[in-house]
């Protein structure tokens, strides 16, 4: 091509600095806080109004107690490791499987019935089978969590793959891209909103399955502690576990959201 180029406006550096909206983030955080404080308030009122619930201070005291004798730390490490491993493996497996299902009819025909089937099976019902096949070590626990995360994520990824705008795929194909490249460089980014939904839902499932997983011969873990506390009707300990699980889940979800903002910032949206 010739060297002559077409003129276009240049970004102009100008006196006044860009006016950033001060506060969607701050507002959100503020509202979050209000909401959490309000929720704790409701809990407190319920507890005081004669329902059989421990009050927030009771739970706090119990939590400190469990923390100072090291139990909480031990449980937390054990559970976090299981959930992280299961969740990461599950999500990592879901993306290619979702792609295969969305892209190749045979894969879809073969996988889909079983994915659907296992999604409806309560994790509790799987325990004996998993135990027989994998023993009582860490493997079956991570597997149960893996399965929960995988199953939640794969549906979403599949939908993302089939929803990718055909023109983008065509654009990649005419630039010489083959299926593998299209998958990595077009389908994955284009369906990242779906994949991230899947991961967020999968993360929730992973945590929610923790108790079931730790029914399987665990020595420590938040779910194990909760189960044990349930047998002994120790509501304060149950609440400590619930709150810790909730906080960890929330924190991991925030990390995912952060990733999302970075990964889907290209979207034109509200």
């Amino acid at each position: 091509m010739t060297a002559s180029t077409v003129s276009t406006p240049t970004p102009t550096k100008n006196g006044s600095p860009p006016r950033r909206r001060p506060g969607k983030r701050t507002t959100l955080l503020l509202l979050n806080t209000v909401s959490v404080v309000g929720g704790i308030g409701i809990w407190w009122v319920l507890a005081l109004s004669g329902l059989q619930l421990p009050t927030p201070p009771e739970v706090l005291v119990k939590g400190i107690e469990l923390w100072s004798d090291g139990t909480l730390m031990e449980d937390l490490t054990a559970s976090l490791g299981r959930v992280l491993a299961g969740f990461l493996l599950g999500s990592a497996a879901a993306v290619p499987v979702g792609f295969l299902m969305g892209w190749y009819t045979p894969a879809r025909g073969l996988f889909e019935p079983w994915i659907q089937f296992f999604r409806t099976i309560p994790p509790l019902a799987l325990l004996p089978l998993v135990l027989v096949l994998m023993g009582i070590g860490e493997l079956p626990k991570v597997f149960v969590i893996f399965l929960a995360a995988f199953l939640a994520c794969v549906i979403s990824t599949y939908q993302g793959v089939v929803s990718v705008d055909r023109t983008l795929i065509n654009a990649a194909r005419v630039l010489g891209a083959k299926d593998g490249t299209i998958f990595l460089r077009v389908v994955v980014p284009a369906s990242s909103p779906f994949i991230l939904v899947g991961m967020r839902v999968g993360l929730g499932s992973a945590w929610a399955t923790l108790v079931a997983a730790e029914l399987l011969a665990a020595q420590a873990g938040l779910g194990f502690r909760m189960q044990q506390a349930q047998t002994y009707y120790d509501l304060a300990t149950i609440f400590v576990s619930i709150v810790v699980i909730g906080i960890l889940g929330l924190a991991m979800d925030r990390l995912l959201l952060l990733a999302e903002t970075r990964l889907t910032g290209w979207q034109e949206r509200r």
Partner: protein, 309 residues
């Protein structure tokens, strides 16, 4: 609760009754229904199935249930004031400490993986057996598990031993015929019994004597019937729970059914209190109970006897 006049003069007493769908938990309810005992004593009973004792105790606390059934593992709950024991039921003979072939004694369990359903009679018998051998749970590799998981784990050799019970053990024996039984309930007859019992909400016992009396009358008549008609009882229970007669029969085979006279006697002569004290000691040791409690505070044996007058 729906007060009204008790007994035969027309008004009915509404009762909600929780149970666990096994022989111990259901047989009396099945009899009461079949023999029309509820109607006879003017009770309109609604029965609800539960999977464990603690959940029933909680429902008693919220007033969703009036009565419930618990196994020995949950006796610390009434002891800690969460409910009242209103009637003894049966004695468990089903609990065992079992081990894979090659393990000869409880002492051999040292360092082995031992599965246990926490807070159950299986847990109790294991603790007692270890204690008798001069060991504690620290000496073994204890793995808490759900009952179905224990069946799978024992059968497939994933664990070396377990504190567990029949009839589930029968399933394991199909896979591992020479499973070793290291201890059973009778080994501890002198110190600790494994009774099952019926419980009632604290409020019900305090405020609704009529209701408690009517229900106890029903239970007493059913107890009498059960002791004399085991075969029918097994059939009724199977029918009530939609189960195979053979399953229930296997279940009932490991139960020591007490007749009414016997129950009255052990209540009167303090045998029950002795059992309960023995169990309290166990619970205190296990850490579920803070301090021993006088059985009189939560076992209303007087009401049980009074209902028979």
């Amino acid at each position: 609760s729906s007060g009204g006049a008790a007994g035969e003069d027309g008004d009915t007493i509404e009762v909600t009754f929780g149970y666990i769908p096994d022989f111990n938990g259901t047989s009396l309810l099945a009899i009461a229904e079949d023999q029309g005992l509820w109607d006879k004593h003017g009770v309109d009973a609604t029965t609800s199935s539960f999977t464990n004792g603690p959940l029933q105790i909680q429902a008693l606390g919220t007033g969703d249930l009036d009565f419930g059934y618990i196994g020995p593992g949950a006796f610390w709950l009434p002891a800690s004031g969460q409910a009242k024991l209103v009637a003894m039921n049966t004695l468990g003979r089903a609990d065992r400490v079992v081990a894979q072939p090659g393990i000869e004694s409880v002492e051999d369990l040292a360092g082995k993986t031992v599965a246990v359903p926490e807070g159950t009679s299986g847990d109790m018998i294991l603790t007692l057996a270890l204690e008798e051998a001069g060991m504690t749970k620290e000496d073994v590799e204890l793995v808490p598990m759900e009952p179905p998981a224990i069946v799978a784990a024992l059968s497939s050799g994933q664990v070396d031993a377990a504190g567990f019970w029949y009839p589930s053990l029968a399933t394991v024996k199909e896979q591992v015929p020479d499973l070793v039984e290291l201890a059973d309930n009778t080994d501890f007859e002198e110190t600790v019994a494994f009774p099952t019992a019926f419980v009632a909400g604290n409020d019900v016992v305090a405020d609704d004597a009529e209701k408690v009396d009517a229900v106890l009358k029903v239970l007493r008549e059913a107890i009498a019937y059960r002791a004399e008609n085991m075969d029918e009882t097994i059939e009724l229970t199977a029918d009530f729970n939609n189960l195979d007669v053979a399953d229930v029969e296997a279940d009932a085979a490991n139960v020591e059914v007490l007749d009414l006279a016997e129950l009255d006697k052990i209540t009167e002569d303090g045998t029950v209190d002795t059992w309960l004290s023995g169990m309290n000691e166990y619970f205190v040791q296990a850490g579920t109970l803070d301090a021993p409690v006088d059985p009189a505070e939560y076992y209303t044996g007087d009401l049980f006897l009074k209902a028979g007058e």
